[in-house]
């Protein structure tokens, strides 16, 4: 320890008692609280270079890899236009020119969201994107697709026009046949409206966020024909490749 690091003690006339020095890293390393454990787990599973990478493997430079981000960009537009609709209400979005336009952008961005998501799904299905411990990434994508369908369906129900009313009364028989109609009542406008503007946006947002975090944790799936180059993303394969003198 250098002189500069020595704690300064007031001169009390006797030998100064040494003050124990504690390294911050040591505390964090041995912190048994749930925050300490969670911090260590997150740093281990999702270090900053994985969470916000500034580079991607070369195979990501393909158009088939852009549709996931296209879906997320569309979702941002869906939520932003939905917020504007919520601020101004149905009288505005049915009867004013700007309201009509924003109402339409809400629909168009939903259509783009599903369009990009379906192409993303096709691309990932045909490259078997669940390979390399990415099963949960695949499943979270499937769940986000399913929940998005329910969100879009409730959107059609709450258009506050005859179209919404017609869809509700066509759908009620199918849902009643499954038994869920007793609780999820499509003819109950208030319930469907709450689902559409609170529960389902939160659910879609949370699942999509989880999906993106999982993609960051496991890396973007490589094409089938270059499965061996997954070593770029899976440390255990990288170690094995290095040990075998494989520089791919």
């Amino acid at each position: 320890m250098t002189t500069a690091d020595t704690p300064v003690q007031p001169d009390l006339g006797g030998e100064p008692a040494p003050i124990p020095t504690v390294q911050v890293e040591d505390v964090l390393e041995h912190d048994r609280s749930w925050t300490g454990r969670a911090r260590r787990l997150l740093l281990e599973r999702l270090p900053a270079d994985k969470l916000l990478p500034n580079e991607q493997p070369s195979y990501v430079a393909s158009w088939i890899y852009v549709f996931g981000m296209g879906a997320i960009a569309s979702l941002v537009f869906v939520i932003a236009s939905g917020l504007v609709l919520a601020l101004n209400g149905p009288a505005w979005y049915h009867l004013s020119a700007l309201g009509h336009f924003i109402n339409s952008t809400h629909l168009w961005s939903v259509e783009l969201f599903f369009l990009f998501m379906v192409i993303h799904l096709w691309g990932k299905f045909w490259m078997a994107a669940w390979r390399g411990n990415r099963v949960l990434t695949w499943i979270s994508g499937v769940v986000s697709f399913a929940v998005s369908i329910v969100a879009a369906f409730t959107g059609y129900l709450v258009q506050t026009n005859f179209d919404g009313q017609w869809i509700a009364f066509e759908a009620k028989d199918a849902l009643n046949a499954t038994g869920i109609g007793a609780w999820f009542n499509v003819a109950d406008f208030g319930q469907m409206f709450m689902w559409h503007i609170t529960l389902l946006p939160i659910a879609v947002g949370a699942i999509v966020a989880l999906h993106v975090v999982l993609v960051r944790m496991h890396g973007v799936v490589p094409p089938l024909e270059s499965a061996e180059t997954d070593a770029q993303l899976l440390p255990e394969l990288l170690v094995e490749a290095t040990t075998n003198g494989d520089s791919r």
Binding site: V66, N161, F162
Partner: protein, 50 residues
Amino acid sequence: MSVLSAASVGVFLSWGVFGIQVGNLIVILVMLVLFLLALVLPFPRGRRGR
């Protein structure tokens, strides 16, 4: 009235038992075309491309 016109059913194409609204058919065809183009079109290389 615009509120009522939103409830129009659109144009349907039918082949025997199969029927589809033109708007839905267009969206499906656009998705197929985009998917195929994404597989064959070269991706532009940026300044940092490797």
